[in-house]
């Protein structure tokens, strides 16, 4: 534990609620005390928090207790047989659809907001770069489209790498307490992120096609397969190794794929020599599909059955 003296107001201000709760360790407490003794700004900040702390405690001091029958009701519910009609209703297609929709919708706030913002910004950045290239000749146009595809695919791979795991999901342990399968949740999240990135890519392609001509469908074919492949690869690697590693791996492979004449690509032999990563083709789509299946089947085993036994 590093216990350097907090020398900026922001760091001390963030510690003040814990300071008031008496939750700082002895060393940190003395450092904060030391800082407070000489810092008027932080003293004012402490006064503000003291007021809120006191007000909150007073306001909640009058909270009533639950009645004494709570546990009786709990035992009754635990002992009650499962109602048959409810089981039948739960099996209905309508219930399944409703549940699917609820689970799907619930994933939106659980995914990190930066996924949405960063993806849009990186895509916009890629589009801006291609526009700044003024690709009016055939050669330049080819380079610009390759660059845009590179950005689209990197966005897809990085988004998929950050959809699952306790390190990136603050409520991961709580999610485990729900009866919903983590595989199903992961698929929903993957569909959301992939769908969002697909829309971004479609928008960028439409702008590019509008400005410089050419077939929109032809342009989509340039990134659709690679987007699916690298997104699936990012997801699979993130599950087994980690999100950052997945991001790094897919970015490196993608850079080598986009610039095949680069010296580096000749020095490093990629492990997928027979797979064409530069266009949408059946082999690439199949591998992408298999990667998703692989990720779903081998998603790290949940600790539900035995973690506390």
């Amino acid at each position: 534990m590093n216990t350097q003296i907090p020398d900026n107001h922001e760091e001390v201000a963030e510690l003040l609620p814990a300071y008031l709760n008496g939750r700082l360790d002895a060393v940190t407490l003395s450092l904060v005390d030391e800082h407070l003794a000489s810092c008027l700004l932080c003293q004012q900040e402490l006064a503000a928090w003291e007021f809120v702390w006191g007000a909150t405690r007073q306001a909640f001091a009058i909270t009533p207790l639950p009645s004494t029958q709570v546990m009786d009701a709990v035992w009754a519910r635990l002992d009650a047989p499962v109602a048959q009609p409810q089981i039948a209703r739960r099996g209905s297609p309508w219930h399944a659809l409703t549940r699917l929709w609820l689970v799907f919708r619930a994933q939106i706030p659980l995914l990190h907001k930066s996924i949405w913002i960063a993806s849009a910004l990186v895509c916009l950045f890629g589009l801006t770069l291609t526009i700044l290239m003024h690709p009016h000749t055939a050669g330049l146009k080819h380079m610009a489209s390759s660059l845009l595809v590179l950005f689209i695919v990197v966005v897809g791979a990085s988004g998929s790498a950050f959809i699952y795991g306790s390190s990136i999901d603050p409520g991961f342990e709580l999610t485990l307490t729900t009866p919903t399968s983590m595989r199903f949740l992961m698929l929903c999240r993957m569909a959301l992120v992939l769908g969002y990135n697909f829309l971004l890519a479609l928008l960028a392609s439409a702008v590019f096609a509008l400005l410089y001509g050419g077939s929109l469908w032809g342009f989509i074919q340039l990134w659709l397969g690679p987007l699916l492949f690298f997104s699936s690869l990012g997801l699979a690697i993130s599950l087994f190794v980690g999100s950052t590693f997945a991001l790094l791996c897919t970015a490196i492979i993608e850079v080598f794929r986009s610039f095949p004449n680069n010296l580096a690509s000749r020095l490093i032999n990629l492990p997928l020599p027979s797979l064409d990563l530069n266009s949408t083709n059946p082999q690439l789509l199949l591998v992408a599909f298999l990667l998703i299946i692989f990720a779903v089947l081998f998603v790290p085993k949940q600790p539900r059955p035995n973690s506390l036994t």
């Binding site: 904060v32 503000a48 909150t56 909640f60 009533p64 207790l65 709570v70 485990l176």
Partner: protein
């Protein structure tokens, strides 16, 4: 990086006791669930009462929470404290039930984007505000603001633990707490002005 102590008012010994209780609950020991309830009924119920003003519904949600704890005690891995885990389950139960019954939920994202006011030194004393006024001020606060104040100063959870309960990033917890403080102050300032 500066260090915080463990969760809430819990000492290390009682944390171990809590985990032992959950292990016993996982083995379907009813006495253990009753003991856990005795320990945590107050923080859980005060938290639920902030999500719904209906006493009966809050009790029902408390029952839902205990049933969920009974069924999922095995999933507790110790990544968070037991209190954090319990409050998180209570929150999920409450949100599911409120949504199913079509009771109003606050647009959390909207509240998170509330513009921050300029910070000024606090110029009023707590002693001048009577308890009724404070209770009324808290009722006027948005539920997400009441919630974050309760988790911070009553449950005494850390930023990270609150982030786990609310399933939001730590930065959102900090901004929400800061907005709650400003909202409380603004409300009480307004009351002081009307008194003059």
């Amino acid at each position: 990086m500066l260090a915080l102590q463990g969760s809430g008012q819990m000492s290390g010994e009682s944390l171990i006791d809590d985990v032992q209780l959950l292990k016993r609950i996982a083995r379907e020991d009813r006495q253990a669930l009753a003991e856990l309830y005795t320990r945590y009924q107050r923080p859980l119920f005060s938290y639920l009462l902030q999500l719904t003003p209906d006493y009966g519904l809050a009790e029902e949600l408390l029952q839902d929470t205990l049933v969920a704890v009974w069924k999922s005690a095995r999933t507790f891995e110790g990544r968070s404290s037991v209190l954090t885990w319990l409050v998180g389950i209570a929150r999920r139960q409450a949100h599911n039930t409120l949504r199913q019954r079509k009771l109003p939920l606050v647009d959390i994202s909207e509240l998170d984007c509330m513009p921050a006011q300029e910070l000024e030194p606090e110029a009023f004393a707590l002693a001048s505000v009577v308890r009724d006024e404070l209770a009324q001020a808290f009722r006027q606060l948005a539920p997400v603001h009441r919630e974050v104040l309760l988790l911070t100063f009553i449950q005494e959870l850390s930023y990270q633990e609150i982030a786990t309960v609310l399933e939001v990033p730590v930065g959102t917890v900090k901004s929400r707490l800061s907005n709650a403080r400003r909202a409380l102050r603004a409300f009480l300032d307004a009351r002081e002005d009307t008194k003059r």
